[in-house]
């Protein structure tokens, strides 16, 4: 182990928090020590030590967990595996190995430079591969290539047997296949600690992409126009966006407070399925649909383009440059996050709820956004349902709520208001009576486990929201029973032990 940092160590305060400063909620629930590990052997020893001492281990790779799964661990041990961060490519076989502490930006750099391949994972440079891949991991290339966990061929994982002994396992489709399946989407749900991800094959990285932002005149937009905008966006992914020749197109429509210079716009990345960006027909076809809303074009982050210039003239760039340019998410702030999968376009009722919330003057409206991520494409290959632990394979959009603030004293208000907004969006005749307040029904496909939201725990059926309405959750409980019989690896939203065990 590189270091054991206890509460008296001067490094403790700096290492305690992840990105979300809400956690730990108080000094009383902070871990007793933080163990820094830079090898799988380190992790094994630290884990064995914790288990033998009866202390709860929690794990952190990149520190982006949205809920209190890592930093909140009263008296326990936080295993910080951010230094376990190597990315290697076998020169002969081109097989890739990614350690969980590697951040996505570094993963892209290493895979691209060594093999010209990439992982269809998230856009934020500083997100750690560990939690991201194990929970599914999607990003700008996922419509083209699927989820990052879809490409997994094996993992090294440490589990703890019934007697409390740590076991090293190399699991794949032949060795511990059930555990391997669980790690392909539910790997953060409480089975063990993954110390390496293996990919025998990864998609070739695009050569270049078109990347830019589009803004809309939000302040003057009427409710009808806004509804039209959202349905235009949603209709595309529900119809034309299902065609494979569009899968290189990824867009996020972000809605924030409706005010002067308020946020309503799209971020777009495009490449053709072959990884080039020569034929922009699909892109222009998509953009044409939004001409009626008075778009303004700019670079990433909304930098305005020159008037009358070709809006895309500065948007073409090498893929690696685009993939490693988003350094957002590196800071620390208080935040709350929610998610929902959508299988269809946006309804007028949904658009109305969003419009009215962001036209209001609540502090949460000023501090939050709801983003509509394009989804589907290669993600929705039905054969992956039985091979992975991702149940959502029919959605065409994924919504994410993000709310940020500074002061701890404001926590209750932001949490309450965002929850109320979300609940209102999923309440009404479009959701059946037993599931009001949640994205449940024909138009929805639940929530994303990598955007965990502890508010959903108040619904007894929360596992069905995250793991689908089929038998996946029961399967995961069996895996839990087999590989973590003591429930060593647990957090607020981990897979629950089978009843009676």
């Amino acid at each position: 182990m590189d270091a054991v940092v206890d509460q008296k160590d001067r490094r403790y305060a700096a290492l305690l928090h992840g990105r979300n400063l809400r956690f730990p909620e108080s000094p009383e629930v902070a871990p007793g020590s933080i163990v820094l590990c830079s090898s799988a052997t380190d992790v094994r020893h630290a884990l064995q030590e914790a288990v033998s001492r009866g202390l709860r281990p929690t794990v952190r790779s990149g520190g982006h967990c949205y809920e209190n799964f890592s930093a909140t661990n009263p008296g326990g041990v936080l295993l910080d595996i951010s230094l376990l961060n190597r990315v290697s490519v076998d020169a002969a076989s081109k097989h890739c190995r990614v350690e969980p502490g590697a951040v996505l930006g570094d993963v892209y750099q290493a895979l691209y430079k060594r093999a010209g391949v990439t992982l269809p994972a998230g856009s934020c440079y500083t997100v750690g591969a560990g939690g991201h891949i194990s929970g599914g991991g999607y990003g700008l290339l996922s419509r083209l290539h699927g989820l990052s966990s879809d490409w997994l061929t094996a993992v090294d994982i440490l589990t703890v047997d019934n007697s409390g002994t740590v076991k090293e396992r190399h699991v794949n489709q032949k060795s511990d296949p059930d555990l391997f399946r669980a790690c392909r989407g539910a790997g953060s749900a409480g089975f063990g600690i993954i110390t390496s991800y293996y990919f025998e094959q990864l998609p070739t990285a695009p050569r270049e992409v078109i990347e830019f932002g589009v803004g809309f005149p939000w302040e003057t937009m009427s409710e009808e126009q806004f509804t039209d905008l959202l349905t235009t966006f949603g209709d595309y992914w529900a119809t034309r966006g299902r065609d494979p020749d569009t899968w290189g197109l990824f867009a996020i429509l972000t809605v924030g407070a409706r005010k002067p210079r308020g946020r309503l716009g799209m971020y777009i990345q495009f490449c053709q399925p072959n990884g080039s960006a020569q034929d922009l027909y699909v892109l222009h076809e998509f953009l044409d649909r939004f001409d009626k809303f008075g778009p303004s074009y700019g670079g990433r982050g909304g930098a305005p383009a020159k008037p009358h210039s070709d809006p895309l003239i500065h948007a073409r760039k090498p893929w690696l440059v685009a993939a490693t340019s988003d350094h957002s998410g590196g800071g620390q702030i208080r935040g709350k996050f929610k998610s929902a999968y959508m299988k269809r376009s946006v309804t007028p009722q949904e658009a109305q709820t969003i419009y009215r919330f962001y036209s209001g003057d609540s502090v949460t409206a000023q501090a939050s956004v709801v983003a509509f991520d394009s989804y589907g494409g290669a993600v929705n290959r039905p054969e992956l349902l039985g091979e992975t632990a991702i149940a959502q394979r029919s959605s065409i959009m994924k919504l994410q709520w993000q709310c940020y603030w500074q002061d701890a004293s404001d926590d209750p208000q932001y949490l309450r208001e965002l929850d109320a907004f979300y609940t209102a969006l999923y309440s009404g005749s479009h959701v059946d009576a037993d599931h009001q307040g949640t994205p449940w029904g024909d138009g929805y496909e639940g929530c994303y486990m990598n955007y965990p939201d502890a508010d959903m725990l108040r619904y007894a059926y929360w596992p069905s929201l995250y793991y689908g309405r089929g038998d996946l959750y029961a399967f995961l409980q069996q895996v839990k029973h087999s590989y973590d019989p003591n429930n060593i690896f647990h957090h607020a939203m981990s897979v629950r032990p089978l009843q009676g065990t």
Binding site: S26, E28, V29, G32, V51, R53, G54, L55, R56, P74, G75, V160, N162, S163, G164, A454, L457, R458, P485, N486, N487, I488, H490, H491, A492, R496, P497, T501
Partner: protein
């Protein structure tokens, strides 16, 4: 054996039902005959049964039913040694939407609402299935054995007996913690794990819970709370299925626990309690009732000093920790009071229990001035 009943005509339902109708604080008309003979020091009796805790006062003048307090998911209770506080561990599947049990803290008084909820403190995350809880003799710590959660939980108690907000936990792989009891002499507890068949010495510490020593029980362990001798030197635990009793020597200073000897029992032990200065009391069930036995504990073995047959099946027992040495037994429909094991008298009062069940717990709590 002479047996005195307070009122053979009074039905079980009448006893508590009448009390409730007449006002919970009212003394039952037949009770003075029962209690006049009982020279007990003032105390509360808490009887957990059928989803409620029935609280009584018992003193030299009267046994009085105060009231029944509904408790959901009752698992176990324990009294504070110095304060009128009762702690109840609740085996709820989840608390505030998280899988864990909860400890409810009640202030006890002799009014019409004998138990007043003053705090609800969740156990650590995943600490489900509490089976017993114990409070240290100094009143500063509370321990909970969490069976399905495979963990021990510790809560610090403040000067008013209220638990701190955060439980610290020790996960015990492969274990199913069941019984836990503090030494009467120090902040040191013995925990029973019938799954791994071992005894554990636990000590709450600042921000943690230390395991001082462990020993594998040579004859296994029953899912039962052990008993300390009053000097804290010996620990007596029922072995697997209660078929025998084992004695362990505990040396807190050297953090050592050692098995001394075991003795087979005629029928399975149901409960074991600290009683006299150097003795423990056991309760066994036989075909026609129960047997109470007083054992003197020495380094050389357990010596049976006396025994007493009870012509009813006792489900739970409690002993006064005061000088009066009073014993209380709960049967399916009665509270029995034995001034001492040697006393020929058994005083009983019928109690109205809502449902017939073998799950009855009894606690005795002195009213300390």
């Amino acid at each position: 054996m002479k047996r005195r009943e307070t009122s053979p005509q009074l039905s079980r339902r009448d006893f508590l039902g009448g009390a409730l109708l007449a006002g919970a604080a009212a003394t039952m008309p037949d009770l003075p005959a029962f209690t006049r003979a009982v020279k007990s020091q003032p105390a509360w009796l808490h009887l957990a049964h059928g989803g409620s805790i029935h609280t009584f006062t018992a003193d030299a003048g009267s046994l009085r039913f105060l009231g029944a307090t509904p408790i959901e998911d009752f698992a176990a209770f324990a009294t504070h040694p110095k304060l009128p506080i009762l702690y109840v561990a609740r085996d709820c599947a989840q608390w505030e939407h998280l899988p864990r049990g909860v400890v409810s803290t009640y202030a006890v008084d002799s009014g019409t609402q004998p138990l007043r909820l003053i705090a609800q403190t969740p156990m650590a995350l995943s600490s489900t299935g509490p089976r017993s809880l114990a409070v240290s003799a100094c009143g500063g710590s509370l321990l909970v054995a969490s069976s399905t959660g495979r963990a021990w939980n510790a809560l610090a108690l403040d000067a008013s007996g209220v638990p701190g907000p955060v439980a610290v936990t020790r996960k015990d792989a492969g274990a199913a913690p069941h019984g836990v009891l503090f030494s009467p002499r120090e902040a040191l507890a013995a925990g029973v794990d019938p799954e791994r068949e071992r005894l554990t010495l636990l000590q709450p510490a600042s921000g943690g819970l230390n395991i001082l020593a462990r020993i594998d029980a040579p004859h296994g362990l029953a899912a039962m709370t052990p008993a300390w001798t009053r000097d804290g030197r010996y620990l007596i635990a029922a072995d697997r299925n209660g078929a025998s009793l084992s004695t362990y020597a505990v040396d807190a200073s050297s953090q050592c626990i050692e098995h001394l000897h075991s003795i087979a029992m005629e029928t399975p032990v149901q409960s074991v309690l600290m009683h006299t200065a150097d003795g423990v009391l056991t309760l066994r069930t036989e075909e026609r009732g129960s047997v109470l036995e007083l054992w003197r504990v020495t380094a050389g073995g357990l010596q049976r000093e006396s025994s007493r047959a009870i012509p009813e099946r006792a489900l739970s027992m409690a002993a006064s920790s005061q000088e009066d040495g009073m014993l209380w037994l709960a049967t399916e429909d009665r509270l029995l009071c034995l001034p001492s094991l040697h006393d020929a008298e058994i005083h009983s009062a019928r109690v109205s229990l809502k449902s017939r069940t073998a799950r009855v717990s009894l606690a005795h709590q002195p009213m300390l001035s």
